[in-house]
């Protein structure tokens, strides 16, 4: 892959060409053309991003057992289409300052989060992470620190950084999960400075600390970092998801905070119960919004 010329690499599924093309389309094409383009580009990636498609289908087999294979492929296409919409709408927000309807489920928990003196927002690859962070900072006037996995393509990573800077208007600070120990200390400091830290807790990458958990009756590994951070800071964990509820319409779902309390037991034991609670919350949300769980690498 790395031996290929740069211009050709940019056409890889996670390459820069597609993101640039999307920005161009949002800037140059009237809004009534967007459903047409989103549909066909979703179809294009559904056929050509085979690894991602098979990962989604394999997840659907576990989330909705007993379904026909063809049904799961159609559902996978729906997931791709939703993903394309979230990318397109994030670009619309960035390029055209488009406005969105925004509803909240779990308003009391959200109020507590907004007023919190240091909190961890635990979320998933669901709905729009980037747009969600931008909407959150815009509506509630609170800065947020996002932890995300870096894009594998260097140029795409630069493009995403710039896009996040634009959508967040300076209120969204981005940290990368590859930063290791430095990141842990930075996040701990941020929490002690009463900031909100947002982490995705549904996927484990090679360099990320993890602990065993159960999801849909299967043994999986989930990131343990947020729970250790919560224990050390100490700070509550707010499960929060931003799901797409329709055309230019998003829903912020906040669940009851999870508190990690230090006891005489080992650290692993202290975080076991909170992690189980998180996996139950995650499971419920994924079951309800399976078409917006953008886990394009195999989890089960």
């Amino acid at each position: 892959m790395s031996n290929l010329p740069a211009w050709w690499q940019s056409f890889a599924v996670r390459g820069l060409a597609w993101r640039r093309g999307l920005d161009w389309a949002i800037e140059n094409v009237p809004f009534y053309f967007h459903p047409f383009l989103v549909f066909f580009w979703s179809l294009f990636f559904f056929f050509f991003a085979g690894t991602a498609r098979e990962a989604v289908v394999s997840h659907l087999r576990v989330i909705l057992p007993g379904s026909l294979r063809i049904t799961n492929y159609l559902r996978a296409f729906r997931t791709f289409r939703n993903f394309a919409w979230t990318l397109a709408e994030t670009a619309s927000y960035k390029m055209n300052q488009a406005s969105f309807l925004c509803e909240v489920e779990g308003e009391e928990f959200l109020d507590r989060l907004i007023g919190a003196k240091g909190a961890i927002v635990l979320t998933a690859h669901m709905g729009s992470y980037d747009l969600g962070a931008a909407l959150f900072t815009e509506k509630f006037r609170r800065e947020i620190r996002m932890v995300r996995a870096p894009e594998p393509d260097k140029l795409t990573a630069q493009h995403v950084d710039l896009a996040l800077e634009q959508v967040g208007a300076g209120a969204v600070k981005v940290d990368y999960s590859t930063d290791g120990a430095t990141l842990s200390f930075d996040l701990l400091n941020a929490l002690r400075n009463q900031e909100i830290v947002s982490i995705q807790g549904d996927r484990v990458l090679d360099h990320v600390a993890s602990a065993p958990a159960e999801l849909f009756g299967r043994k999986v590994s989930l990131p343990s970092g947020p729970f250790i951070l919560s224990l050390v800071a100490p700070a509550p964990i707010y499960p929060l998801f931003v799901v797409r509820a329709g055309y230019r319409k998003y829903k912020i779902i906040v669940r009851e905070p999870i508190v990690c309390a230090r006891t005489e037991r080992s650290r692993e034991d202290d975080i076991a119960a909170p992690m189980t609670r998180w996996s139950r919350v995650l499971e419920g949300l994924i079951r309800e919004h399976w078409s917006q769980w953008y886990a394009f690498t195999r989890t089960f």
């Binding site: 140059n28 094409v29 009237p30 053309f33 459903p35 047409f36 309807l101 509506k139 230019r248």
Partner: protein, 159 residues
């Protein structure tokens, strides 16, 4: 909590705006209307597909007809990608020459899309089959939208 979308200037779908104006409802353009977004997309795809069908596949039959029907779907998509790109180059050329600089790229594309769609609808409207009614319906819609746009511009200038 609910945040209403803002309205922006422009006249993509002027006809419903004019009806709203007459009924005393908000008539500023909003890009947040799902019905308009999908109606535009389905209309563009439908008319283009029908035009391409009449042009390339109207006289074939059997399995070749099924093959052509399937092939025309991505062909319409690729056609519009090329058209949008060529339009953008032309718009940039005009802007570079200092012409129509007050019109944004998207609004200029809207004009080009309207012209192309009108040409397709016009072609369909002079045929003898059922396709002509779709052409006539589309031309009527585009014409009414154009008139509504003029009326809205005049109303705005007066107020």
């Amino acid at each position: 909590m609910k945040n209403e979308p803002e309205s922006s200037a422009g006249f993509y779908f002027a006809l419903p705006r004019l009806f709203n104006l007459w009924r005393g409802r908000p008539h500023q353009v909003s890009e947040a209307c799902v019905f308009e977004a999908y109606m535009g997309s389905v209309g563009i795809f439908g008319v283009t597909y029908l035009f391409a069908w009449v042009l390339f596949a109207g006289k074939i039959s059997g399995w070749r007809m099924i093959f052509a029907a399937a092939l025309l779907i991505p062909a319409v998509w690729v056609f519009w990608l090329l058209v949008l790109y060529i339009n953008a180059l032309f718009i940039n050329f005009l802007h570079g020459k200092g012409l129509f600089r007050q019109i944004t790229n998207r609004d200029a594309q809207n004009i080009y899309i309207g012209v192309i769609l009108t040409a397709f609808a016009l072609h369909l409207s002079i045929l003898h089959g059922w396709e002509r009614w779709i052409g006539i319906f589309c031309l009527s819609g585009l014409g009414a939208n154009f008139l509504a746009m003029i009326m809205l511009v005049m109303t705005r200038k007066r107020s």
